[in-house]
Assembly symmetry: C2
Homo-oligomer: 175 residues x 2
């Protein structure tokens, strides 16, 4: 993976340049909150946050950046779960379906959702300098996508909005 300078493999990463929000914050705390929200959500919906699924979500939350499926798989395998690709893809697909994680197509990667709440239509901002990713509410963007779609008679089900560019830290040479 060429998008960042290869972090020391295997450690728990709760900080670093590649944070999901560009602003500094308490990762452990926001991860814990997200996990609790996830549990409440699945209970409400009657779906199951099984051990692999839960662990996959934890992994994404701990890393706090976009991770490839195989990278998640490695960690799952290290924790005693299966070590074949479908194990990771199934867990990640579940999380994406439930809105607990997002797929970042530009990076062929997945990231835990950082915006609490039910239906939302997030936009992603990917820093090409440091690999950081920010998720922002995309309601306004979504509305403009819908408007363009309407002009074509097209009905939008899902929209991917992903922008590559430079985060504040990198632009100011702080990264």
């Amino acid at each position: 993976m060429s998008r960042e300078p290869a972090p020391p493999a295997g450690g728990t990463e709760t900080g670093g340049a590649a944070s999901l929000a560009f602003a500094a914050h308490d990762h452990a705390r926001c991860a814990g909150g997200a996990l609790r929200r996830a549990e409440a959500l699945v209970a409400e919906r009657g779906v199951r946050l099984t051990p692999v699924r839960r662990r996959a979500l934890e992994i994404l939350l701990e890393a706090h950046r976009a991770m490839g499926a195989y990278e998640v798989l490695e960690r799952l395998a290290a924790d005693g779960f299966g070590r074949q690709p479908p194990v990771a893809y199934r867990a990640l697909d579940f999380l994406v379906e439930q809105g607990l994680a997002h797929r970042i197509r530009r990076l062929n990667a997945f990231a835990a959702c950082t915006l609490p709440g039910g239906a939302h239509s997030p936009a992603f901002f990917i820093c090409t300098g440091c690999g950081a990713i920010a998720e922002a509410p995309g309601e306004a963007i979504r509305a403009s996508v819908e408007a363009a779609a309407a002009a074509l008679g097209f009905t939008v089900e899902r929209a991917s909005i992903e922008a590559a560019g430079t985060c504040p830290a990198c632009r100011e040479g702080r990264a």
Copy 2:
């Protein structure tokens, strides 16, 4: 590839459900125009539309839909060009750099640009029913992306706007 019902391999396709615009039109004519514009453009920029590159563009224009790199490669090989992946990827990368084609990340595919003119920030609408793709001017969407980015202090270089949904024909059961 599971996204469409496998067209008869090797034919020149100038029609069919998977058109790039949802409205019916004269493919051969719009392809010819695009090719002429491409030639003018590269002349102006001092880059070279070499035989492989030109043929790759023709292939995309003829197919008039999104094509995987390997699919383009097959056609190139059939026309006597190299048969190894880099041949296709290099030609396609050139076309994308020059704005003559676009990469559709959701599909891991490429499509010829259907909107003449220089810098534009297109949005793509992908029908999950029939595989058709429409490219629409995305200036308004781009503006809303920029606005969201500004709130984060993020500078946007490139944005991918890709929406999956249903085209008019499929929604009305005409497809």
